[in-house]
């Protein structure tokens, strides 16, 4: 088969270029939301300040720590497999998965709290943005978890080695991107002035 033949040589280069291109699309997807945020924050600075006080900063900060740590464990997994340390890689990915789940659990608590206090996406523009932005980000976390689950299964089957670990690497790039989006979301939503 033609595809098999190619998979030997150019594949890692192609995959890396592919994922960077994909991240460029992702950037523009979130870019739309950041544009909307900018427009409305300039139009309604007081509303944004007053409404953002209703968010739980402690949980938001905790989530930032959780997600940053997950990026670290992901980086460890990649560094490990580059040296052929398969068990360390598995541990790194599993830890990333656990932290991602923790992130979602905390997010869930926050949203429940918000709903309980009558704060919904339709409440006002700030909360509209808050729910849409964190919601879309959350979907990206869930998608990343699915991919990592797949990596763990493949890792159990001994698919990755120092010579072949492209899927791990590109998942890592994706995961760092998801982390990076949160690094912008956190101050923009929780730490206004």
């Amino acid at each position: 088969m033609a595809s098999k033949e190619k998979a030997g040589k150019g594949a890692p280069v192609a995959a890396r270029l592919g994922i960077w291109t994909f991240l460029a699309t992702e950037l523009l997807l979130f870019g739309g939301l950041f544009t909307a945020y900018t427009v409305f924050r300039i139009t309604y600075p007081d509303l944004f300040h007053q409404e953002h006080l209703k968010l739980n900063r402690l949980l938001g900060a905790l989530n930032t720590v959780v997600l940053l740590t997950s990026s670290l464990s992901m980086a460890v997994a990649i560094a490990a497999i580059r040296q052929g340390k398969k068990r360390l890689m598995q541990a790194g990915i599993v830890l990333t998965l656990v932290l991602a789940a923790a992130f979602l659990a905390i997010k869930y608590m926050e949203w429940t709290e918000d709903f309980a206090r009558g704060l919904y996406p339709g409440s006002n523009l700030f909360f509209g943005l808050y729910f849409v932005m964190t919601g879309l980000h959350g979907l990206h976390v869930i998608f990343g978890m699915c991919v990592m689950l797949y990596l763990v299964v493949q890792g159990q089957r001994n698919r990755f080695s120092a010579d072949y670990h492209t899927p791990v690497e590109i998942t890592g790039l994706y995961w760092h991107f998801v982390d990076l989006v949160w690094i912008y979301l956190f101050p923009l939503l929780y730490l206004i002035g």
């Binding site: 033609a2 595809s3 190619k6 150019g10 997807l29 139009t43 523009l125």
Partner: protein
Amino acid sequence: MSQTESYLAHKGFKSWALTMDHKRIGVMYLVTTHLFFLIGGFLALLLRLKLLSPGPALFSAHTYDVLFTMHGAMMIFLFIIPAIPSSLGNFFIPLLIGARDVAFPKLNLFSYYLFVSGILVILISLVQPIDTGWTFYTPFSAENSAAVTTVSFGLFLVGMSSILTGLNFIVTIHTLRAPGMTWYRLPLFIWGMYGTSVIQVLSTPVIGITFLLLVAERLFGVGFFDPAKGGDPLLFQHFFWFYSHPVVYVMILPAMGIISEVIPCFARKPIFGYKAIAYSALAIAFISFLVWGHHMFVSGMSTTAGVIFSFLTFFVAVPTGMKIFNWIATLYKGSISLDSPMLWALTFIFLFIIGGLTGLFLGSLATDVHVHDTYFLVAHFHYTMMGGTVMGLFSGLHYWYPKITGRMLDERWAKHAWWMIVVGFNVTFFPMFILGMQGMPRRYAEYPAKYHSLNVLATVGSWLLAVGIVIMFANFIRSLNRGAIAPANPWEALTLEWQVPSPPPEENFEVIPTVTDWPYSYGKETGDTRGK
């Protein structure tokens, strides 16, 4: 499996449904998109039939709204955007660069199924067909009871398919070129497709998020586009056109690529200004991101912004003009043979000049106020999209038909169809320029009697156009079995796809070729070549 067996050799549903061969996927896109071309065209005939009478006739004004929305949305999203990139692009990019397939064959098949699932979701919406126009402007689209949510979701899937196809092509062109295939030896179709893919990858996510926000608006009542909640309907227009303007270049760049292949081949001359054509594709792709505001001159944008957008709009015409001059310079003193692909290519140049120049009327602030949302605009974009993109597509279809199917088209019938379509097209759409100048607004089911005669003319033209299209498609279908067996290189072209049998073997190339020259050394017989 022998290396030289045609890619069409295997039969059966599964061999197509599960294929990862870029050629088969290209053919599947070709069939799917052209199906919607025919349906969308049929809807247009109904619209024109209704406009035969100035007063109420045939169906209600609401049905008219539904029909023109469906005509527009279908033609734009399901036909003209994917028509060349996903079908001919898929089929020919690997062949033209000397590769065995695209970089990610599985992803390619996945993109196709995303496209089909998007279509299925959109079909569900026919329960409550939308009447928003293909532009989905808020607040109307956010408030009305039609199935806007369903359509938005369907188009989101179609958009994802478009992104992944563009991504696949970018990576393919970067990583899978044959040895010796340097960037300046790439066929110009590849440069066009590269620019197209960049636009697809960078602009489509913005329409994606716009549709998601529209859905959020409808389902959760977030008020981004609702003035009552402090939102801004203009923001929707900005988002919408940030995608939808660049995307007109997704439509036109691949067609320009086809023209750049056909003109030198049928003029037997090296292409004039290779680098200028190549870089103008990238320049168009780049500037296309900066001109979206010209759709909103009368929407309440600031005058300063209007002036800047107007200037940038004129600016994007420069690389476009460069291409046209280069094609004409290529024709100059060429040994021109008027086979059907060339006829379509020349038609492209002629009609696209009209379409492009009338675009500048619309890009000028003062004239735009007069002709905005009139039939002048309708005529303009049909001259660029149908007169441009679709004529380029037809050129490509006639040029590559022998390669795709292994059969020759009936040239006589191809020319009959050409006459009918060119005459029908101009009779249909040229009167609309005049109607627009006289002030007839678009998107109305009825109109004052003073516009009657030109509308009758346009409707009669639409019938000629339809007959021509039917003849052309009949020729396509009939030649599948009855056409003469095509030789490997019926046009004596120099690009790589013609150096393999027609239809190409499954693996494309028995041995990956080594490229030593650019593909435009035509006219060796007269010694008139760039002599590289």
